[in-house]
């Protein structure tokens, strides 16, 4: 018995045939999708010349369509979105209240002025709309235009937002997208595509979107698809295995835009303890960074360094902050955060052992799998820090600002920091160790697509930056007249 079906969407056409069963995670949540073997040849754009229709429409028209798409995603009225919500309840680790919240807020991602700001800030609308001319010092006129490309997207499945961002990035850059559906968010991409086809049937934006499921790593499908004659770019979101797997297909003419698996860190300065009110606010903000998206996001807080010192007073402060964060964490409303749906067994074992190791760790909560704060009683994070999940965070007291660089490495994305003065102090050093985004404590998971991501500019990378030079021999010294230089 299959929990749900994932139709394929081929540039306006919905494919609901050749149903093949897939295991789902752990085999318990089997689902069906059209046989990818029979579908794969129909996924790519037949010819690169077919991208031309995207240049018959204006940027304003792209915004018109995306705005209409946003309006049509109304959770109460849109059956595709409702189905996506139902399937996500089976396939994801998120509880219903949180999923519902994410689908209800989906339309806001397509806010017209926000999209305009995104395109202007990250690329420059002039470059998308036409050739931007600059005169260079050597006399030539350089004209640059950002063209779209044929891309294959492997979006992350923790939240439907990633599929929405994928779609809008594709549209704004006038690109062609083949979206590989993630098994933990099975129907959002299809819902977006079907709604797009409803609001803009036959429109170039609809004709340049294909969505299908195949099992990640299915070489029989991927070897036929991941070729320079079909696609020029692969945009792969996290999942170490999935990103690493994709690298086997890279070759000249096919590049990877890797939005790697990431973890995040938190740093709290001694100012947190200045008053009860401040401590309370800091605890609320930290709890939010741990709890939002039930700690499933790359930006979620896990190891929290506290600059309170490691002496008796420092430990007392760390423990007090830990208690307060725990209180705030379990008090978060259920549309923001809940007790986790699935708990990592190994982590639970470590928590049980930590409870018996009071010299080094104080474990606050976690007896009912509701989430927990482990306060290290020494200046070192728990050795199982990579397992932290399900609203379990580790507070680490440190004496010295130098020790917080431990918090940051090549896998670090976001660093949430309190207070702002500490952030300014750290912002020129932390990036050297790997930090990519520094943000105010409490905002780690409050992200916007209108900024660089993972220390790259994905929108610019998705474009092909084409050059047209005009060289007038009167202005640009002609090589054929170049004398021999001795």
């Amino acid at each position: 018995m299959s929990a749900f079906r994932i139709p394929a969407f081929l540039r306006g056409e919905v494919v609901e045939e050749d149903w093949t069963q897939f295991g789902g995670r752990g085999g318990s949540e089997a689902f069906e999708a059209p046989d990818p073997q029979r579908l794969v040849e129909r996924l790519p754009l037949p010819s690169p010349a077919d991208l031309a229709d995207l240049y018959s429409i204006s940027f304003e028209e792209i915004l018109d369509v995306l705005e209409a798409l946003g309006q049509a995603l109304d959770f109460e009225k849109n059956p595709h979105v409702q189905r996506a919500y139902e399937a996500a309840q089976v396939a994801s680790n998120y509880p219903a209240a949180m999923l519902r919240q994410s689908y209800v807020t989906l339309p806001y991602v397509f806010d017209r002025e926000s999209l305009r700001e995104l395109a202007e800030q990250r690329i420059g609308i002039d470059y998308l709309e036409g050739w931007v001319a600059r005169r260079l010092r050597d006399g030539r006129e350089l004209r640059v235009r950002a063209f779209g490309a044929r891309a294959l997207h492997v979006p992350a499945g923790n939240g439907g937002l990633v599929s929405a961002i994928t779609l809008l990035r594709n549209a704004l850059t006038r690109s062609d997208a083949i979206v590989k559906v993630p098994s933990n968010d099975p129907l959002t991409a299809v819902a977006l595509a079907r709604t797009l086809a409803d609001v803009a049937p036959g429109h170039p934006l609809t004709r340049h979107l294909a969505v299908a499921y195949w099992k990640g790593g299915d070489t029989a499908v991927e070897e036929r698809l991941y070729r320079p004659e079909h696609i020029e770019k692969i945009v792969a979101w996290g999942g170490f295995a999935s990103v690493k797997h994709v690298t086997r297909y890279l070759q000249p003419g096919l590049e990877l835009i890797a939005l790697d698996p990431k973890r995040s860190a938190t740093i709290i300065g001694p100012e947190a303890f200045e008053s009860e009110a401040t401590l309370d606010e800091v605890a609320t903000r930290a709890a939010c960074d741990i709890g939002v998206a039930n700690q499933e996001a790359c930006a979620s807080a896990r190891v929290i360094y506290v600059l309170c010192g490691c002496d008796a007073q420092g430990l007392e402060r760390a423990n007090r902050l830990g208690e307060r964060i725990y209180e705030k964490l379990v008090g978060l409303p259920e549309h923001v955060s809940t007790a986790p749906v699935r708990v990592d067994r190994e982590l639970r074992d470590h928590l049980a052992a930590a409870r018996l190791t009071e010299d080094w760790y104080r474990v606050i909560g976690g007896e009912r799998d509701e989430g927990a704060i482990i306060v290290s009683q020494l200046d070192s994070a728990v050795d199982y820090a990579p397992l932290l999940s399900g609203r379990v965070a580790n507070l680490v007291p440190v004496d010295d600002l130098k020790q917080v660089t431990d918090a940051v490495n090549a896998y670090t994305q976001t660093v949430g920091i309190y207070p702002e003065s500490l952030k300014r102090e750290l912002r020129d050093t932390l990036p050297l160790y790997g930090a990519q985004r520094l943000t105010s404590l409490g905002y780690a998971c409050h992200v916007t697509p209108t900024m660089p991501q993972d220390a790259i500019e994905p929108l610019r990378r998705m474009c092909k930056w084409i050059v047209d030079e005009e060289c007038d021999p009167e202005r640009v010294f002609p090589l054929w007249k170049q004398p021999a230089l001795s």
Binding site: G23, R25, G26, P155, A156, G157, N158, V162, P182, S183, N184, K215, G216, G217, W237, G238, G239, F240, A241, S242, K244, L259, D260, P261, K262, R263, E296, A297, C298, V343, D344, R345, E346, R348, D349, H350, A352, A353, A354, R355, L356, T357, E358, D359, W360, Y361, S376, L378, S380, V382, D383, Y384, P386, L387, S389, D406, N409, A410, Y411, G434
Partner: protein, 474 residues
């Protein structure tokens, strides 16, 4: 009701209690055995609650003063992570004073004579523990940047080996002849010759218990010792790789000084392997031996032997012990036949056990592992850790309460999924609780996850790194 004196014997010397007969050990009617186990459990708990600090702490916290029924013990079972609950930073910083303090809370043995000043490596610390306490700790490498450290003692180790000998040389259903002592044999040890890792600690015990004290009858594959400090480094490397922090790993200069030595060990290996094979197929031909190793290792050796045209190497009444799962190897269906044909023995015995528990549960002719009478088996719900009913056929997470071991707390939750049919007696005729042959590690089961992608780097990164290390090691 069994008498107190009998209870003491049952708990502390089951060999004497059962007259040295493995058949008697496994023919006790279930009710009678369980009554005895309950009394022993209550007594051992009282002893360890008094003597082991973390047991007392846990019992106080959950307010357990005594245990009567088996399920009373469930909240007192320790996760296997308990033996690596110390911060790895202590080993990195060579704070063996604090490590001793941590260890002292896990064992009733007195560690007050242990002097850690001057200990500059894990090996040196363990040697000091050996010298000035009753502990003989064993270590195992982990993947989270730490190593497990299990406080075993000498007495327990030797007792385990005596038990092994009984099970290796007796047969279920055949009472031992008191006039015929167990034989001394050549021990074939396809492994390193020494070290503090769990199985390597057995070497000294094996030599004494099995060879009749003649060290020349002990035949290791490699002549070298495995360094615990090197194992700790390997564990740190794995953890660092999973965190993207390989650039931060600092190798202890003392260990780095030994790099050439480790490389020489590696270089010697092919030669030693050849010599080992040579010895097995010439000097040891026709001898009554005891050989033990994992399925994969045994199969590899046997396959190699058959390919060279060697078969039927050992005396028919040799003792061959295997187990340990396939450990990531894919074995052909007939692997047991291959092993048997090469060795030329009547039977190959299989055992199921873990370092934390003093019992090896031996397989009967039906292939089921029969639980030793001095361990109480539990099946736990893998998610809630609640005990499953002790009736019908149940599959769950294996846990054991070990009544015999005295050097550390005996209640351990394993990482294994096992199946027990509580009601149906095993066709082999033994009365003891049978564990089905199919045993799986939960960590292996998790491998079925396919293409669930999140932007969050956690377990999969970690697994990837471990397999990277394996490739690296290979």
């Amino acid at each position: 009701m069994p008498e107190t004196k009998n209870l003491d014997l049952f708990m502390n010397d089951p060999i004497a209690f059962y007259d040295g007969s493995i058949t008697k050990m496994h023919q006790v009617p279930r009710d009678e055995l369980e009554a005895q186990q309950r009394l022993a459990m209550a007594a051992r708990f009282a002893e360890h609650r008094e003597g082991i600090e973390i047991v007392r702490n846990l019992a106080d916290r959950i307010d357990v003063k005594e245990v009567r029924e088996f399920d009373d013990m469930a909240p007192l079972l320790f996760a296997h992570t308990t033996f690596k609950s110390y911060p790895a930073a202590l080993l990195d910083g060579k704070r063996f004073d604090l490590m001793t303090k941590w260890l002292a809370k896990q064992t009733p043995h007195d560690l007050s004579r242990v002097e850690t000043r001057g200990c500059d490596s894990i090996e040196a610390w363990i040697d000091e523990l050996d010298a000035h306490s009753e502990l003989r700790v064993i270590t195992s490498s982990g993947t989270t940047g730490t190593i497990s450290i299990i406080p075993k003692d000498d007495a327990g180790g030797f007792y385990s080996m005596r038990l092994w000998r009984l099970f290796l040389f007796q047969e279920f259903g055949v009472e031992p002849d008191p006039n015929e002592p167990l034989p001394a044999v050549d021990v074939i040890w396809p492994n390193y010759a020494s070290g503090k890792l769990g199985h390597l600690r057995m070497v000294e015990l094996l030599k004494k218990e099995f060879t009749g004290g003649d060290e020349s009858r002990f035949h290791p594959l490699y002549s070298d010792a495995v360094s615990t400090d090197l194992m700790f480094l390997a564990s740190k490397l794995r953890a660092a790789a999973s965190r993207g922090e390989l650039d931060r790993v600092k190798i202890d200069p003392k260990l780095l000084e030994r790099k050439a030595e480790f490389e020489a060990m590696e270089k010697r290996r092919p030669e030693e392997l050849k010599a080992f094979f040579e010895r097995m197929t010439t000097q040891l031909v026709g001898k009554r031996v005891f050989m033990l190793g994992t399925y994969a290792l045994m199969h590899e050796i046997a396959r190699e032997g058959l390919d060279r045209g060697v078969r039927g190497v050992f005396a028919k009444d040799s003792a061959i012990l295997t187990g340990g799962g396939a450990k990531g190897h894919v074995l052909p269906e007939n692997y047991m036949d291959v092993i048997r044909e090469f060795m030329g023995v009547d039977r190959i015995q299989e055992g199921y056990g873990m370092s934390e528990v003093s019992a090896m549960h031996w397989a009967c002719p039906e292939g089921r592992y029969h639980v030793q009478p001095w361990t109480i088996p539990y099946l736990l719900d893998p998610d809630s850790s609640q005990p499953l009913p002790r009736r019908g056929r149940q599959t769950g997470r294996a846990a054991f309460y070990d009544l015999l071991n005295r050097s550390h707390w005996g209640g351990i939750i394993s990482g294994d999924e096992i199946t027990i049919d509580w009601d149906r007696p095993c066709a082999c005729g033994l009365a003891s609780v049978p564990i089905e042959h199919e045993i799986m590690r939960y960590s292996e089961k998790q491998g079925v996850e396919d293409d669930r992608i999140t932007c969050n780097a956690t377990q999969e990164v970690h697994d990837e790194a471990v397999s990277f290390m394996r490739e690296f090691e290979a």
